[in-house]
Amino acid sequence: MAKVKQITAKEAAALVKSDMTVMIGGFMTNGTPLTITEEIAKRDDVKDLTVVCNDAGFQGVGTGALLAKGQIKKLIATHVGLNKECGQKYSAGELDLVLQPQGTLAEQIRAAGAGLGGILTPTGIGTTVAEGKQVVNVDGQDYLLEKPVHGDIAFIQGFVADESGNIRYKGSTRNFGYLMASAADTVVVEVEKIVPAGEIGPEYVETPYVFVDYIVLKEEA
């Protein structure tokens, strides 16, 4: 059976290099691997990241930790209103902010993971979101062509991993987990528990081990 590599949060953070596109899972930090984001924010040598995350987390927490550290050059998100520092940095010209509808962003990430050329969505037609984007008409209705969003590395939070790297989530934390795991070259999952290979069971795996490169056990951090 396959065996996934287990590393520490510090080692996970060391995988990030300046200028990378980093995907961070979670919705308002629910599903964000906070131990890892904290470690990334300790790195002085990492800057100019493009971060893909539903939001900016809270001030200093999750994606907000990287933001506070000044590591993010460009943020692709859907809602940043609950971290006022995000707005401040944007207003000060220190942050390139791309706001996308949440369903569009989720589907763009899925498209990257599923090898599709983009998505055709009715969402955003006739709004500023459509500016500069291709509109494709299908049977008389206009759809916005939104391109795939791919990551160099993704950090997500699971609940249980088995030793092969299969993942299960808890509660509403699954949000962007599977999607980002499918769409990034390197995938790191922070979990609270590691169980023997196969213990999750073939009918209960939510993210397959073939997507997962490293797991970090939360307690070890």
């Binding site: 930090t29 369903g103 589907e107 709004t127």
Partner: protein
Amino acid sequence: MEKSEIKPFIAKRVAKEMHDGDVVNLGIGLPTMVPDYLDESVQITLQSENGFLGLAAVDESNPDGKYIVNAGGQPAGIAKDGMFFDSATSFGIIRGGHVDATVLGSLQVAENGDIANWIIPGKMVPGMGGAMDLVVGAKKVIVAMEHTQKGAPKILKKCTLPLTAQKQVNLIVTEMGVIEVTDNGLVLKEINPEFTVEQVQEATEATLTVADDLKSMIDGSPIK
């Protein structure tokens, strides 16, 4: 009407739009008050766009408030027969027309159903979150809001703020009345008897057609 009575009054009327078995997504603020006013015979399923159906208050489904949050990022619970899914599935359910109704506030609504509710003028743009998908995808879009903003009309001929979506609003419920968006413009279907039709029109930039069978929004009785 006292200022503090306005929101419950609107929520109570919106509750009558809910049918037993409906899947509903409620925006923040006023819309979250709607379930308090449902008739006992009406059970609805609340969708939380961050990834589940069966949104509930924090309970034993989320004992430490840690693993389940609502679309506002606050601790929540889930109904016994609810279920979690990923964000693409969640918005597939929304965009695919599987949500019967969404209730949300708005800054402006135009007579053709255009809605503008994601950019507050002069403020930092917080982002549209799931709002654009919700108004495009939900079968029925119900705007629940105060009729005016500091006396200025919010129901307009044309929105002046950046749009959230084009031609998606179906119904507007305010403290003054219930307005349906039709192919022929806005139709005032019900009115709060505290106001006259003239007062409602005065508080509305767009032209209102008054329904032949205009009713009271409180008890449904005919208004002559």
